[in-house]
Symmetry: C2
Subunit: 193 residues, 2 copies
Amino acid sequence: MGVNRNGSADRGTAEKVLSAASRLFYANGVRAVGMERIVAESGVAKTSVYRHFHAKDELVAAFLEWEDREFWRQWDGIVAAAPNNPKAELMSLLDWIGKRVTRDGYRGCPQINVAAEFADPEHPARKIRRRHKAEMLKRLRDIVGRIGVTRPGDTAMQLGLLIDGAFTSDGRLSKASAVRILQNGAEALLAGT
Amino acid sequence: MGVNRNGSADRGTAEKVLSAASRLFYANGVRAVGMERIVAESGVAKTSVYRHFHAKDELVAAFLEWEDREFWRQWDGIVAAAPNNPKAELMSLLDWIGKRVTRDGYRGCPQINVAAEFADPEHPARKIRRRHKAEMLKRLRDIVGRIGVTRPGDTAMQLGLLIDGAFTSDGRLSKASAVRILQNGAEALLAGT
DNA sequence: GTATAATGATACCGATCGGTAGCGCTGTCA
DNA sequence: TGACAGCGCTACCGATCGGTATCATTATAC
């Protein structure tokens, strides 16, 4: 067996490690998960883990980078499937987010959660989070710009706050109401001053 | 010396410990701070620390309970100073929150930050956070009820999301714009569907 | 005085932390 | 066949984790 048949580095092993680490980090927090547990649950020897990721911080960064890419991949998928209309686009995204934050096992935004564990603003997790949230703001700003509001910067920020609030809502949003609350809230913000 | 002269337990020592622990927990995260450091920076012997708080979790809970009480104490102060008018009350609270989240050294809502470090929903930190956020929702619901909106539950939740978003904004809100963005956002949400 | 209660200092506990060394095994490619 | 690369296994490292035991010191109350 083995996935690779080419001369490049084997991706199967690194992926097994990253997959197990991501699941454990998200479910338990980074500092609560020891490397030994990642070794055990990935089925990869400790030596090999450290051959692919030279330190735990690298693994943390790889986790957040992956989450970042995956988030925007799904975002782009929603946008592509939405009617070619900025308001409908935003509503589709909020439908996606509303379902996302109320699905089983959802434990908040990984960027926010992990960054909260590291005080140093120069820690990789903090940098990746800043970039991720800046990208979010940029995209929201683009959408509200196309919709046409009087203060697009403010409105984009307000939508960003609403979304980050939903990310940290921790069960306070129900499956039945989350999408409605987000979409109606966005409508109100778009119509606002 | 010594602060106590009555028969009850000495509060000075416990307060020194809680004060140092609170500062360290908030600035660095709970798991990043060892008990030895709390001993060192509080100036209280380890034995005495454990005489007042039987485990680290108890200290964590005491920190969040104190933050909770202090938050509502300030909230009540804002409300008391505001004009007797639910909308002005809400605007005063958002003025307070906007300044709070942009002040130096602000590192997010302690309830959110600490709860993110503990996966078990029955951990004291998680329970205190749930209670804190439920209280927030209740108070917002009361205010918007007095203002009179068509769906007070939804509007209160939207305001809560906006506020929690501000709490986790991590420098994205500037001193110049935070209050305006929050207040205008709330106005829009109140006027919404 | 003397009893009582609280604190401080030091040394220590087993467990776990992130990370490394050494060595043998296995599969691929020339 | 032989070189080589990637992986697994075991044992280990110093440091730190949360928490405890022992005992001396201090201050107040009677």
